[in-house]
Symmetry: C2
Subunit: 183 residues, 2 copies
């Protein structure tokens, strides 16, 4: 598998549908890194343009990779080894392109039904299992801004609840999507 994931903190929506940079959550770094390691993801990109947020994420990573964290819990160290901090979606895509020697198929995830360029879980799974380079993009806060969605090649159909409820946390949505596509 040549699968990449990005946890995007900009551009995303806030509750009032405004474009914002969301704050990094350490718990998301851990949960997503543990998922990435479980599903053999090549690299997990934390995307934020803010220097202090990048430094914060790198400090968390240093604690677990080089500091006391890694001695306290080696399973966390193992998981966090796949994490890279980048400044933009473009950088995340460029890095995976560089690592694989070809451009990834970028797939945005969104809780809303895609209006165009939609891709089903089955199709996305096929691309991944056919060894295509795939980058899955997950939005924090109230989800990926339309600018981020426009940048992606395809948009994954959303996870629909039994009664139409589709308000999962990004952590649990990523878990379900990774299991469906790469499990």
């Amino acid at each position: 598998m040549r699968l990449y994931i990005g946890l995007v903190h900009f551009p995303v929506y806030n509750k009032n549908h405004e474009k914002i940079v969301s704050a990094i959550t350490t718990l998301d770094i851990h949960d997503m890194a543990r998922l990435a390691t479980t599903y053999d993801v090549s690299r997990f990109f934390i995307v934020t343009p803010l220097d202090d947020q990048q430094e914060f994420a790198r400090r968390v990573l240093r604690h677990w990779l080089e500091g006391y964290g890694g001695r306290y819990n080696r399973h966390r160290k193992e998981a966090l080894e796949c994490v890279s901090v980048v400044g933009s979606l473009e950088q995340a895509i460029a890095r995976s392109h560089e690592m694989e020697g070809e451009a990834p198929l970028t797939i945005a995830t969104d809780a809303a039904d895609p209006k165009e360029r939609s891709i089903s879980c089955a199709e996305a799974r096929e691309a991944i299992w056919n060894n295509e380079v795939v980058a899955l993009l997950f939005g924090t806060a109230w989800g990926l801004h339309e600018e981020a969605i426009r940048q992606a090649d395809r948009v994954l159909v959303p996870i629909l609840g039994k009664k139409g409820y589709n308000h999962l946390s990004v952590r649990t949505a990523a878990a379900i999507i990774l299991d469906r596509l790469a499990g």
Copy 2:
């Protein structure tokens, strides 16, 4: 579906394989309630024997069900309506028995391979979709204590990562399991 889930804070293991009561995490309440609502779970039980921890969980629920939280985000209110706080596994099982008029099939989840009474995802899914009453038990901290596992009728086979890594957070493990069994 007549599906119940329990997030168990006692008896569970700590890092040193000792029996402990773990602390409630508000984020787990939200993530698991949102999952429960997505997958049409009848009731989500938060299991802790500690009075102050029960009161803490109930205070969080009041904020979202009756206080400002429900006005701030109605999707959270909708999700948290399925949550009950109980003092023990026995109480959780008794409550689901009471609600359905029959005893649930209790299924413990564990990251280790079950030695006995194992049940596959396919079998568990069949029970749920055959409208049997099923209660899925998830352990916090370092997982369900063997006493809790012995209390369950069956033990679900674990989620195995590509490279044998199986150290997911309880939130993301529950997401994957609910999607496999009830999705």
